[in-house]
Symmetry: C2
Subunit: 362 residues, 2 copies
Amino acid sequence: MISERKKKILAAVVDAYIRTAEPVGSKAIAESAGLGCSSATIRNELAELVSLGYLEQPHTSAGRVPTPLGYRLYVNELMQRQKLSLEESEDINRRLNAKLQELDDTIGDVSRLASQLTDYPALALTAQSAATIRRFDIIYVDANTFILVVMLSNNSVKNKLVHLPISVDQSMIQRLSSLFNASFTGIAEEQITPLLIRSTERAADDTMGLTSVIAAFAIETLSEANTPSAFISGENRLLSQPEFRDPDKAHRLMSYLSGGGHILPAADSFGGTDEVRVLIGPENVAEELKDSSVVIASYDAGDNMRGLIGVVGPTRMDYSAVAAKLSFLAAGLSRRLGGGEAPPEGMHNKLIIKGDISDGSR
Amino acid sequence: MISERKKKILAAVVDAYIRTAEPVGSKAIAESAGLGCSSATIRNELAELVSLGYLEQPHTSAGRVPTPLGYRLYVNELMQRQKLSLEESEDINRRLNAKLQELDDTIGDVSRLASQLTDYPALALTAQSAATIRRFDIIYVDANTFILVVMLSNNSVKNKLVHLPISVDQSMIQRLSSLFNASFTGIAEEQITPLLIRSTERAADDTMGLTSVIAAFAIETLSEANTPSAFISGENRLLSQPEFRDPDKAHRLMSYLSGGGHILPAADSFGGTDEVRVLIGPENVAEELKDSSVVIASYDAGDNMRGLIGVVGPTRMDYSAVAAKLSFLAAGLSRRLGGGEAPPEGMHNKLIIKGDISDGSR
DNA sequence: ATTAGCACTCGGAAGACAAGAGTGCCAACA
DNA sequence: TGTTGGCACTCTTGTCTTCCGAGTGCTAAT
């Protein structure tokens, strides 16, 4: 439906534009791309690519610039899938190992890492999940102090130090600990009802309201662990992109990002596989992202949860490099966090790039 | 040494410049500041203020702009100390309460809050400290899994889930738990020597290297808790300041900030009191901050530790408002975290503003 | 000591101009 | 029919002038 040569030319335009951020002219293409024809021919082709909607010119007599549709075609078919060099992948693995010895809510570290690798702002999000309490312990410190320790089904452990104005004796603590371990484990947040709390309170013979304090912690921990959260870093890297030389534009996007990744809408529709998704310009739902692009990868965070790492940049983004890095990073995370059978260390997971080529384009 | 009227004029210049970010001319001052004299008189005074080094003009025939020295005088003597309105202080208290119900490493929240309040980028740092382990518990989950729980002398609690390829029986765990509680508490990081570990291992009759895993966690926790750490947020707010319209300039400062607050040098010399310190332009040691200003407040973080909250902005910064807010915030934190006798809730602590009027000025 | 008046200085905005890059189109050619 | 060289045309970008006005410094008068 679109000639092979046109594709080659389109690819050349996108490649060059990604590098230089300047509209690219016919002559440059004639020289760079090794198709043996002259700039005049290229011009004809370019004109057609414009009328097909893949390219546009900022003004008459300027070079061509890809439209979102053009990027889409590029991403889906044209760009050559990068695989990381050995050094790069080793570097990533090393950093992952260093950072994730113990993973708790290192979601921040993950986003930082992604941002450093790609040199774009990055965000990491945890998906909504349905973790339950797996174990509940109360450690007696002294008569006024104890520590609540909750282990969740997703293998994260939370704790809280409680300091009371009144004294509690150790046997009470022990009683509460085993009661909670018995009746608060394996259930979801909604199942912690006032009724359950009341009955536990009675069973423990607790007249000081201790039970509700502890129950509140349980609820809070569950809700916190299950609420999706986002972490953004490297916003400043936007500023090195020429399309954000306008401080207002940069500011708008950056404050949108800092305000938490409301990219969550995109996250919902995410499939289960280790795919990489690319959203180009107007394909984004969020108004603020309409002329930026987002690349998102998903990883297995264990316990049936999936996390996301995403990168935000101008539509003129180095999709191929970013996709490769993100994909590798996600695979590394899956391997470390995921429950199941992950591919072995060195392996690149295949790069499935999916994107809605919705009619929202252009 | 410097006439009263000059001071008034200087104050007027700084006030106006803080508001408008434009050089301010004699006429504007004559009208605004209620000193009954004409623009010509003001001009004479302005000329002298320039030769004294408090003001400068970007070029002949432009208004005047304060020099760092001018700001310094303004901050030390001239500016009127703001105290927050009732709504503002209530708002801050409410937010503090919401965020700090449980304070762990909410240092991030603190900086976020400071940034929101002041509308400048903010950073929070923990000082170097000498926390020790106060309590050590190991919770047995199953034969391959247990949870380490460490409570530090600064009342923070850390935990780690350990998953082993080999089986361990419960009595061993119990033995280790009490051994660690006995010999690893109350000591500093350096005191955890290979010797100590070896002897504990022997005492526990541990042939599987469990002891060293646990000891490693102890060391790591201590070192992490005692290493100063920084958290920055709201970098993007820089972009709304006209002096950072130049993206390169903005980028330089922002990436400096993101790279961790190397403002630590300034932190070292910080006194113990709840003072607020202002560093203007070249008074900063860091090259990148030479034409920005920093306002820092210190708070009592309990256990003989002090934390810092700082705000970064252009030299043309609303010192008075920022100082007031930061001071209030610091006081609120001290009250919640500090060990000792803190002033009661509603009270504004007195605003000590100190600053080196070092010879680095000019 | 203050003020009014005036000439002077600069920076910034607006316009004029040249250079250059890139296009579109046409006519010639394989 | 597809390709190519050539050429006129367009539009941006940078540079240079010009012009305006805000704001100054100075002087002479009060």
